[in-house]
Every structure is written in structure tokens, then in C-alpha cells.
């Protein structure tokens, strides 16, 4: 049944898509790829035991949801035997229980403050605004040859007391941030 619905959905897409919709489709595709990558980042990151206090692994979205709901299906799934929860946070005060913090590129200006708030916290930070990795972020989504690419600053990861497995390193390009 699910397959049928998906097929119908596919047929609907086939019939109803217009050129203007094309850009949105690309956008959606990218967001879904990023969502998939986020899952894998979670899978291959080891948090210190002290920061895994709750039952869930929390993915916190700082600012508006840039995934247009693409991340929603992940909510409730499990990774490394932890259930994944999606949280939307607006201020630095709300990040305490986050294991991963995704910063909306619109919130680039808030990053420095946020970055300071993250000191001493084992939170994997991800964003897609250019220069995120350079600005102390850990994983920065970018493009390379029209393909989505992720840059990872190992130092930032180390500073946060996180451990990244080799498998994850195969998905990313290692960069070195300013700090």
C-alpha cells in the first residue's frame, strides 16, 4: 500500500511539476541529503557519557527549520540505540540538552554568541552558512562540484570533547578552523 501511495505520489510529481517548482525540488533534495547525512553524523559520533543524560539524542534546530519538515521523519527513529528527538531552540539558554545543534544559516549573526555558549559543552554543531567551520563550528555543509559536501573541523570536535569515528571522516573534508 505504501508503495502504491508512493507511486501515485511519483506519478503526481511526474505530471504536475513545473519549471518554477524545479528549484524547490532541488532545494528539497538537498535538504533530504543533509538530513540523511545528519543521521550518519549522529551514528559515528561518540558523546562523553556525561552529556548523554537523557533517553534521547536531541537534534536541536537553532532558528527556523531549514529542512522544511524533511527532518521530521527522523524524529522517533533510533541511532546507536538512542531515540532521536528534534528540538527547535531560539536562544543559547536552550541548548543544554542538545547533542547536535544545527544552526540555520539565517542565524549566522547569532553564531558568535551561540559559539561562546557552547564552550565546555559536548554538542556537535552543524550549519550550512559559509565560513561556519572557520568560525568555530564543527561541520559545515557546502557545495563542491555541484555536490553537497561537508567540511569538518576536527579541532572544534576535539575541544568539545567529542569523538568522531573514522567512518564519518570518509563523508567529510577535514578543514582547520581559526581557533
Amino acid at each position: 500500500m505504501q508503495i502504491l501511495i508512493r507511486l501515485l505520489f511519483a506519478l503526481a510529481l511526474l505530471c504536475g511539476l513545473s519549471v518554477t517548482a524545479h528549484a524547490e525540488v532541488v532545494q528539497l533534495q538537498e535538504q533530504q541529503i543533509k538530513a540523511g547525512l545528519l543521521y550518519n553524523f549522529l551514528k559515528y559520533t561518540d558523546w562523553p557519557a556525561a552529556s548523554l543524560t537523557g533517553a534521547t539524542l536531541n537534534i536541536c534546530i537553532f532558528g527556523d527549520d531549514p529542512f522544511s519538515g524533511s527532518l521530521n521523519p527522523i524524529q522517533g527513529r533510533t541511532v546507536n540505540q538512542h531515540q532521536i528527538a528534534i528540538r527547535y531552540v531560539q536562544g543559547a539558554g536552550e541548548i543544554t540538552n542538545c547533542q547536535m545543534l544545527f544552526v540555520n544559516q539565517n542565524e549566522q549573526s547569532a553564531w558568535p554568541n551561540l559559539h561562546r555558549a557552547l564552550v565546555g559543552k559536548s554538542i556537535l554543531t552543524v550549519s550550512d552558512f559559509p565560513g561556519f567551520a572557520a568560525a568555530g563550528g564543527m561541520i559545515e555543509f557546502s557545495h563542491q562540484n555541484d555536490h553537497i559536501n561537508a567540511n569538518l573541523d576536527l579541532d572544534a570536535v576535539d575541544h568539545a570533547g567529542l569523538h568522531i569515528e573514522d567512518r564519518l571522516l570518509r563523508l567529510v573534508t577535514i578543514v582547520h578552523g581559526d581557533n
Binding site: 508503495i3 507511486l7 533534495q29 541529503i33 527522523i74 541511532v79 563542491q144
Partner: protein, 760 residues
């Protein structure tokens, strides 16, 4: 008889052997089936390992296939993907060699063929690998090679799948849970294979940067559908087999990972229209992401495998325990069997043999005992032995009785109430001249003279009433019609219920006795006549003697009166002597006359008070007693008896007179008494009178002498009173006329006791 004992033991042994075999068969069957199960479980365990290896091998090959395809499509990726390609080739080869090596130990008929086929694909793949290496080093593309490579590797994975199915099919009947595990495992394979196909298909799309053809799209959807279905089936199977609670975390992770990747790819690669010139993801990232999904699936696989192996191991332990348990039961049952056999032999067969030996011994007339010394028996056997012992005693008693009867000189005959002879002892054979064989079964009138038949009928009538017939004298008839005087006693024979079932006769030949009796009678008559004649003679003699004696005396007296003065002193003295002697002679003759009268005259029998007699005597002899300081003591009142009173008075008077006369003590004591019973040298006597004195006593030599007529002893007091010496003779005669007996006990110098009885 030994064979009999042996045969019981043989039967027992056979029965127990059969029982033991049965138990051994049953338990052995169980053990064997458990052992087979265990074997299969061991195979299952190995099969699980091999499945894992085959699974791993196909997985590795599909990864190699995808990487190679990507490079073939996009030679520019060679540099990035070359290490992974090399790595995946090595991994694929290693996994396949390992799997094939493990599989080699199984000799299932179809496996060889499947393995051969797999090997041929591998040879093919080896060739293709070289071609691929050459092609990509030239930075060339070759759609033909791509297709061939894809088809060959896919065929290999499918072949491997077939191989696995062919192999696993042999283990599907061992245990339902294990079967569920296999099916679950198969679902996991489908998931992995199909995700592999999807990975390959998407990698191809990315490398060609082309929108999927409808065929590719359909294939992708098909894969996806198969995977979705497999996830669901796997979950159900895992839940059914009890696996799910243990692997749920890995299952959830793998499924989440798959779904996330699925969400990611769905809008990009599954729809032909979604392609907008460039796919937003590179092949390397994609292959990596896909391979990372493989990690999650591997984790699930590992967890499942671990649990399945644990289950199988557990299963194996259970089977081993079952074997142990059944083995133990078998041992216990066999031990019990042997023990019971031993017990029955010892406590039943041996005692029975013992009893048989005892019976044999007894039957042969040797001594035997039924209760063995200090051997433990079962209660019943013990009771049986006691009973047989008691029976033996009864039999011995009966045999003894039979021997007594048989050896009796008397004829002992038993017969039924209607007269049929049942037994006939040796005495009967001798008496009646019929042998036992001749007599038994005949009727008793065989030995009854016709004129005595009436008597027999009376006897039978008495027996019917349960009365015995005491010995009575009658006549019976021996073989040949000879008549025999017999003494016959008949008594009823009763059965255990007390009913009269016959009679036993005891007959004694009294012919001799009869003759002796007749002889005795003749003697007695002769004696009586002789005694009578003697008495008559004594009477006549004494009577006739009296006249001349009186004459003698008278003439002596006349002479003394008339011629005393004319005779000298000597003549007078002699005449006095003559008178005295004739007077004495007269006394003697009178006594003799009296004595003969005692024998001749009838007794005047009457009831007499003996006490009164003694009082009368005391009174009559008062002066006599007084003069001699004599006393009569009667310690106990004397009885009344039936006797001739004057004569018994005479007896007592005589005895008392003697007791006083022959006494030298200053005080003369005469004790008169009566004993109900007394022991005498001739045996016990009832009703004994005694007269006891403290006189001079009588020497043993005179104990008989004193009873002779005219026999006197010197009086102890030295008195000149003379008796004729007939007192004790009269006493004895009177007592004997009363059918009594007189005897005495005496200690010279101390006294004498006269005892007497009066028979009537």
C-alpha cells in the same frame, strides 16, 4: 528337582532380560533420537556460521560490484575509489573462500553442483576483474563490460543465495524456532541484497548523471518494496521466534538507518523527473553512506547471529541434558532391574529352593528344616516357611500316630458309618488273617459272625449318637471262619468340623486271657474248696477235740479231789500240771474253733460309727488301761463305715491291747486315727486306719511272723498274763474278710504303727 529351581531362575532371568532390553530399547531410542537431534543441532550451529559467511561473501561481492561499476561509469572516480575497490575485492575473496571452505565438510548431494557453479562464476569474475582493471587504467568506458560485470556478480550472489537455500533446507526440520530463525535470516539477506542492488543502481545513476529509465525506476521501486516487506516479515519472524526483544535495539537502528537513507534517496533517484541536471550528491559520498547503512545492517546481523548461535547452543545444551537425563534414567532402570532380579532370586527363589530341599530331605525320611538360619526373607516367604514348619510338625505327629497305630499289637480298624473299611493295621492283619489290601474297601461284616450282626448294628447306632463303646468282650471271625474272642472298643471319628464320619475299632485278642481266666477260676474254686475243707476240718477237729480234753481235765480234777492225800507231792504237782495243760489245750482249741468260724461265718455288715467303737472299747477296758497308765488319743473324729461291727471292735480291741501290753513306757499312749490317703510300700491306699503306740516296737524280722496263729512275743511289762497268740491272726483274718489289708511300721524301742484298710 534342581532343574525346577533352575527353570524358575531362567524364567526370571529371561523376564528381567526382556524387561531390561525393553527399558534399554525405549531409553536408548530416546537417547539415540536426542543424540541425532544433538548432531543436527551441531550441524545447525555450523550452518548458522556458514550462512553468516555466505551472507558476508555476497555482501562483500555486491559492494565490490557497486564500486567497480561506479569506476567503470566514471573513470574519473578511479583515484578516489581505487583503494576501496582493492579493499572490497580482497574482502569479497576472503569471505567467499572462508564460506566455501566451511561448506566443504558437508556432503549434501546437490551442494557439489551448486558449489561448482559458484566456482565457475568466480572464475568468470576473476577474468572480468582483470578486464575492468585494464579498462579503467585506460580511462575508458565499456557498457558491455559493465553489463557483463553486473550480471556476473549478481548471478554469483544469486547463486550463493541458492547455495545457501540448498544448504539451509537440510536444517529446517530440527526445531520450529530454528526454522523461524532461518527464515528471519533469509529476510535479512533480502534486505541486504536489495539495498545492495539499490546502492548499485543509484551509484550508476550518479555516475552517469542520468535520470533513471522507467525500467531502472521500476527496479528501484521493486527493490524498495521487497526491502519494506522484508523488514516487516523479519520483525514478525523475530517476534515469533522470541528473537526480537533481544535484537530490538539493533533492529530499530538498522531500520531507522535504512529509512533515513530511503527518505534521502527517494525524491532524488526514484523519479525520472527529479533529475535536474546534476545530482546533488557525489558517488563517493553515496557509496560511503550506503556502506555505512551496511554497518548498521551488519550490527543487526551480528546481534541476530549472536542470539541465534546462543539459542542453538542453549538448544544443544538442552539436548545434551536430555541425553544425560535419559541415560541416567536408563542406568537407574537397569540397576533397578538387576537389583530386583537379585532380590527376587535371593528372597524368593533361594528360599523356595531351600524349602524344596527340605521337602526332599523330609520326603526321603531325613531331617529337614524349612526356616533357614538367619536368612532374611520376604514376609510371605517367611510365613510360608513357618507354616510349612508347623505342617511338618503336624505331619511328623500324624506319622508318629500312624506308626503307633501300625505297630500296635491290637487290631485298629477305621470304617465309614456304613461299614466300609478305611484302614487296617498290622495288628488287624495278624488278628484276622486278612491283609490290608484285602480288607480295605470291604465291609466290616467281613469279620462279624452272622449271629453278632445285631450287636454291630447297636454299636453303629451308638456311634451315630457320638458315643464311644468301651471295651467289651465279643467274638469276631478271622479269615476262614475261625472265631476269635476279642475285646472291642469303638469310638466315633470326627472331621475338622466335628461331624461324625466314621468309627474306629480297637480289637484285642483275648483268647489267651479267656483261657487264663478259666484256669484261674478253676484254681480259685479248688482253693475255696480246699479252704472250706480245711475250715471244716479245723472245726470238726477242734469240736471233736474239745470232748476228750474236757474229759482229761475232769479226770485230773477228780483225781486231785479224791486222791490228793494219797499221792505224794510230786504226783499232786503233776496232776495240777495235767489239769493246767488240758485247760490250756482247751483254750487253744477254742481259739482254733473261733478262727475257723471267722473264715466260715458270713459277715454281719452294717453301718458302723468307728468313733463309737473306740469309746465303747475305752469304757470296757477302763480298769485295764488305768492299771497300766495307758491313754487312748483320737486326734480327729473317726468316720462312719460299713462293716461287721463286732469283728471290727475286736480288731481295735486287739490292737489297743497289744499297744498297751507291749509297752515299757511309764505313760502308754495309744493314738487311733484315720487317713484319707496314705502311701504304702505296696502303693497308695485310700481310707487307712492306724493304731499307733509308743511301745517297744517290733524288729523288722518279725513283721510277718506276728500274724501267724499261736505266735506270741514276750509282753514288755513282763506280766504273766498269757495269751494263746491268736490276736493278730484274728485281726488279719477279719480285715482280710473285709477285703482289707494290714501292715505296720515300727522302730524298735520307740513304737509301732499298725495300718489297715477295710475294702468294703
Amino acid at each position: 528337582m534342581k532343574w525346577c529351581a533352575n527353570s524358575i531362575r531362567t524364567v526370571l532371568l529371561s523376564a528381567f532380560a526382556v524387561l531390561a532390553l525393553l527399558i534399554a530399547g525405549l531409553a536408548g531410542g530416546d537417547v539415540y533420537s536426542e543424540w541425532q537431534r544433538l548432531n543436527k543441532i551441531t550441524q545447525l550451529k555450523n550452518a548458522t556460521v556458514i550462512s553468516e559467511k555466505l551472507f558476508d561473501a555476497t555482501e562483500k561481492f555486491s559492494i565490490e560490484r557497486d564500486i567497480a561499476l561506479t569506476i567503470l561509469h566514471a573513470p574519473e572516480t578511479l583515484e578516489t575509489l581505487q583503494p576501496r575497490l582493492t579493499e572490497s575485492r580482497m574482502a569479497a575473496d576472503a569471505a567467499m573462500n572462508d564460506a566455501m571452505g566451511s561448506l566443504r565438510q558437508y556432503r549434501f548431494p546437490e551442494l557439489d553442483q551448486l558449489q561448482q557453479k559458484t566456482l565457475s562464476y568466480r572464475t568468470e569474475i576473476e577474468k572480468l576483474r582483470q578486464q575492468i582493471s585494464r579498462t579503467v587504467s585506460d580511462r575508458a568506458t565499456s557498457p558491455t563490460l559493465e553489463k557483463k560485470w553486473y550480471d556476473t556478480v549478481t548471478a554469483l550472489t544469486e547463486q550463493t543465495e541458492d547455495l545457501w537455500l540448498g544448504f539451509a533446507g537440510h536444517f529446517s526440520d530440527i526445531d520450529p524456532t530454528a526454522t523461524l530463525h532461518m527464515r528471519y535470516w533469509h529476510c535479512l539477506r533480502i534486505i541486504m541484497d536489495n539495498t545492495g542492488h539499490e546502492r548499485a543502481a543509484i551509484a550508476e545513476l550518479i555516475s552517469t548523471n542520468a535520470a533513471p529509465t522507467p525500467q531502472q525506476s521500476a527496479e528501484l521501486w521493486h527493490n524498495r518494496g521487497a526491502v519494506d516487506l522484508s523488514w516487516k516479515t523479519a520483525e514478525i519472524l523475530a517476534a515469533q521466534s522470541g528473537l526480537f526483544p533481544i535484537i530490538s535495539a539493533e533492529f530499530s537502528d538498522a531500520k531507522s538507518h535504512y529509512e533515513t537513507l530511503q527518505d534521502m534517496t527517494e525524491n532524488i533517484f526514484y523519479l525520472p523527473d527529479a533529475h535536474s541536471g546534476t545530482y546533488p550528491i557525489g558517488a563517493d559520498i553515496w557509496l560511503e553512506l550506503s556502506s555505512e547503512l551496511g554497518d548498521s545492517l551488519d550490527d543487526l546481523k551480528a546481534a541476530s547471529h549472536k542470539e541465534i548461535v546462543r539459542y542453538v547452543m542453549n538448544f544443544r545444551v538442552k539436548a545434551q541434558q536430555a541425553i544425560l537425563f535419559h541415560g541416567l534414567i536408563l542406568m537407574i532402570a537397569l540397576t533397578l532391574c538387576i537389583y530386583t532380579f537379585h532380590l527376587v532370586t535371593n528372597r524368593v527363589v533361594h528360599p523356595i529352593n531351600y524349602m524344596i530341599d527340605a521337602l526332599l530331605s523330609i520326603a526321603n525320611g531325613k531331617p529337614g528344616a524349612f526356616v533357614p538360619p538367619q536368612r532374611r526373607q520376604l514376609a510371605e516367604i517367611g510365613n510360608l516357611m513357618q507354616i510349612m514348619n508347623a505342617l511338618q510338625r503336624n505331619v511328623e505327629a500324624a506319622l508318629l500316630l500312624a506308626a503307633v497305630v501300625e505297630s500296635s499289637e491290637d487290631a485298629i480298624i477305621s470304617k465309614t458309618l456304613d461299614g466300609k473299611i478305611l484302614s487296617w493295621n498290622r495288628g488287624a492283619e495278624h488278628l484276622f488273617d486278612y491283609s490290608a489290601a484285602e480288607a480295605i474297601g470291604q465291609y466290616i461284616n467281613l469279620i462279624i459272625p452272622p449271629k453278632y450282626m445285631n450287636e454291630e448294628n447297636q454299636i453303629i447306632a451308638q456311634i451315630h449318637e457320638g458315643k464311644s463303646v468301651d471295651h467289651f468282650e465279643t467274638v469276631r471271625m478271622a479269615k476262614g471262619g475261625r472265631l476269635i474272642d476279642i475285646s472291642l472298643a469303638v469310638s466315633p471319628i470326627r472331621n475338622a468340623a466335628g461331624e461324625i464320619i466314621g468309627a474306629s475299632k480297637t480289637a484285642r485278642d483275648i483268647t489267651e486271657r479267656k483261657q487264663a481266666e478259666a484256669q484261674l477260676l478253676r484254681y480259685m474254686r479248688d482253693l475255696e474248696r480246699s479252704n472250706q475243707e480245711l475250715d471244716d476240718f479245723a472245726y470238726i477237729a477242734s469240736h471233736d477235740l474239745k470232748e476228750p480234753l474236757r474229759g482229761l481235765f475232769n479226770h485230773a480234777s477228780f483225781l486231785l479231789e479224791d486222791y490228793e492225800g494219797k499221792l505224794d507231792e510230786d504226783g499232786v504237782k503233776r496232776l495240777h500240771r495235767l489239769a493246767h495243760l488240758s485247760r490250756r489245750m482247751e483254750h487253744l482249741v477254742n481259739d482254733l474253733l473261733y478262727f475257723s468260724r471267722l473264715g466260715r461265718a458270713e459277715l454281719a455288715i452294717q453301718e458302723t460309727n468307728v468313733h463309737q467303737i473306740i469309746s465303747d472299747i475305752e469304757e470296757m477296758m477302763e480298769s485295764f488301761l488305768h492299771e497300766r497308765n495307758a491313754h487312748i488319743i483320737v486326734p480327729k473324729k473317726l468316720p462312719k463305715i460299713v462293716c461287721d461291727k463286732p469283728r471290727i471292735t475286736e480288731v481295735f480291741r486287739n490292737l489297743i491291747t497289744n499297744a498297751v501290753k507291749y509297752n515299757d513306757k511309764p505313760e502308754r499312749i495309744v493314738e487311733i486315727g484315720f487317713l484319707d490317703r496314705a502311701e504304702t510300700p505296696q502303693g497308695p491306699e485310700n481310707g487307712v486306719f492306724y493304731v499307733k503306740d509308743n511301745g517297744v516296737g517290733i524288729e523288722p524280722g518279725f513283721h510277718q511272723e506276728i500274724f501267724r496263729i499261736f505266735k506270741r512275743l514276750q509282753p514288755a511289762d513282763g506280766s504273766k498274763e498269757e495269751g494263746t497268740g491268736v490276736g493278730l491272726t484274728f485281726v488279719k483274718k477279719i480285715i482280710e474278710r473285709h477285703k482289707g489289708r494290714i501292715w505296720l511300721e515300727s522302730i524298735p524301742g520307740q513304737g509301732t504303727v499298725f495300718y489297715f484298710t477295710l475294702g468294703r
